[in-house]
Amino acid sequence: MSSAPRTATERTKLPYCHESFHNLQELRHSASLANKVFIQRDYTDGTICKFQTKFPSELDSRIERTLFEDTVKMLNNYYAEAEKIGGQSYIEGCLACLTVYLVFLCIETRYEKVLKKISRYIQEQNEKVYAPRGLLITDPIERGMRVIEISVYEDRGSSGSSSGSSTTSSSGR
């Protein structure tokens, strides 16, 4: 499972990754897409936006379980905050109704504000955690809030066998 030579410090920091990418730029330019993993929605609490924290087996060798779960839990918290029905949503709703919803031409809804926060969070997670491991998270809003799509990349220089084995293991799930 040797990859193209990288700096030693990169390697030591990331025990799970056999291909270490410096950043998102490098990921985009020197990697090829191997697989995509989809984290589905969790409907046990109703129709609120919440994703399953179950760790997919395809990512077993790519990222630590706790890191993944933390990301998903954080996203779930953000969505819960966006969809919370409480004082602020009442005020926003009443104000909007009284102004015949013209107020939304001027101000942003709370949901939109939280979506921006989510987008920044995902960007940050991609840069710090996922890209160095050859993974990339797609913002759920781009998939209709149905799934969190995680793209699994592999270094073009390294042998394809490592990713090949991970894809065959996924089909046997």
Binding site: R28, H29, S30, A31, S32, L33, A34, N35, K36, V37, F38, R41, Y43, T44, D45, G46, T47, A82, E83, K84, I85, S89, Y90, E92, G93, C94, A96, C97, V100, Y101, L102, F104, T109, R110, Y111, E112, L115, L136, T138, D139, I141, E142, R143, G144, M145, R146, V147, E149, S151, V152, Y153, E154, R156, S163, G164, T167, T168, S170, S171, R173
Partner: protein, 382 residues
């Protein structure tokens, strides 16, 4: 330097919606009844303002027309908001997601004997201790979220689908249900208001000088307005009452018609908070959901700038697909060539490709209308 007209994503959306104002307005396909609604409301109110209000303002109170104007503006705003907004359309699954779901279904079903019908594609989830069945949508290639349904008129899956209303010319779903409800409510009030003041007007004139023959269309207009209001009253007030009932139980029209939570088989509505106030608050006062259809987003056909999705970025380095590489290096995307989305499954998903066949190739956001081209190129990548 290539200058091209900017293509926005709404132009490539599947489904049978009509779009206006460069994607800002989204409606259903048939708009005839919507125009009728507009005509009836605007027409009746115009007659009211023109012929009744001057008399009533002078003889009763100027507040009457003022309030009528406010109510009319509110009704129109709610109608337009309901008709022109995205009801909560769920975008169709892209190729990889569709393949992933197919794989999961096959894994769950096991081996189906040749000649045997495959079992229906249903996923059971538990919501608030109730088992809810999620159905698979063959058009959108997704398991529909709970309360979502596929509208055959608009050819979209809509979240929290209530019904397709021809009077507003759009589906009523999660995002525009409260506007629809406020529309029916305010229209009921407006109808009752106009009806009442028409009667008041007629009664007032009766007790005035009978010989004061107002040479105008006023008596005829009054009769017309009374007729329109009378028939509207029964339907709109009834509809408002029905939707108030649904809201208090946190049900949709679709669920009510299908009898999903009618109580037989001891199935209760898992979404209801069992409290009328809480149910009303959730339906009417919940935060405004954003549209997940990025209608006005720009479709990037040339791949010089990386998009937020990895699709284009990853595919620029596909080594096993010479056709795509030559396409990418020459800037304009020839319409019949495949998009990066179609190229991807041919590479890493070699084991997943067993289920995908050329006939399933229906790209959700096609820049190439030709569905055969992606299939052909996919095979070449083997």
């Amino acid at each position: 330097m290539i200058t091209r007209k900017v293509t926005r994503k709404w132009e490539k959306l599947p489904g049978k919606n009509t779009f206006c104002c460069d994607g800002r307005v989204m409606m259903g396909r048939q708009k005839g009844v919507f125009y009728l609604t507009l005509f009836l409301i605007v027409g009746t109110c115009s007659l009211f303002f023109a012929f009744e209000c001057p008399y009533l303002a002078v003889h009763l109170s100027p507040a009457i027309p003022v309030f009528a104007v406010l109510l009319f503006v509110f009704v129109m705003a709610m109608l337009l908001r309901t008709s022109f907004s995205d009801p909560g359309v769920l975008p169709r699954a892209l190729q990889e997601e569709a393949n992933f779901i197919e794989m999961e279904i096959e894994a769950a079903n096991g081996n189906v004997m040749a000649g045997q019908r495959p079992p229906p594609r249903i996923k059971n989830v538990q919501i608030n201790n109730q088992i809810v069945k999620l159905k698979y949508c063959y058009t959108c290639k997704i398991f529909r979220p709970p309360r979502a349904s596929h509208c055959s008129i608009c050819d979209n899956c809509v979240d929290r689908f209530d019904h397709h209303c021809p009077w507003v010319g759009n589906c009523v779903g999660k995002r525009n249900y409260r506007y629809f409800y406020l529309f029916t409510l305010s229209l009921s009030l407006l109808t009752i208001y106009i009806f009442t003041f028409n009667i008041v007007h007629v009664v007032l004139r009766e007790y005035r000088n009978i010989f004061e023959h107002v040479v105008s269309l006023t008596p005829h207009c009054t009769v017309l307005e009374v007729l329109v209001c009378f028939f509207t009253l029964w339907s709109v007030v009834g509809l408002t009452g029905f939707h108030t009932y649904l809201i208090s139980l946190n049900q949709t029209t679709n669920e009510d018609i299908k009898g999903s939570w009618s109580g037989k088989n001891r199935v209760q509505n898992p979404y209801s908070h069992k409290n009328i106030i809480k149910n009303c608050c959730e339906v009417l006062c919940s935060p405004t959901y954003p549209s997940v259809l990025d209608r006005r987003g720009v479709m990037l056909e040339d791949l010089s700038s990386p998009t937020s999705s990895d699709a284009s970025a990853a595919s620029t380095h596909k080594s096993s697909n010479p056709v795509s590489q030559t396409t990418k290096s020459s800037a304009p995307l020839i319409p019949n060539e495949h998009t990066p989305d179609e190229a991807k499954p041919g590479i890493g998903a070699g084991t997943q490709k067993s289920t995908s066949s050329p006939k399933e190739e229906k790209p959700p956001s096609p820049t190439s209308p030709n569905a055969v081209a992606p299939a052909v190129i996919k095979e070449s990548s083997h």
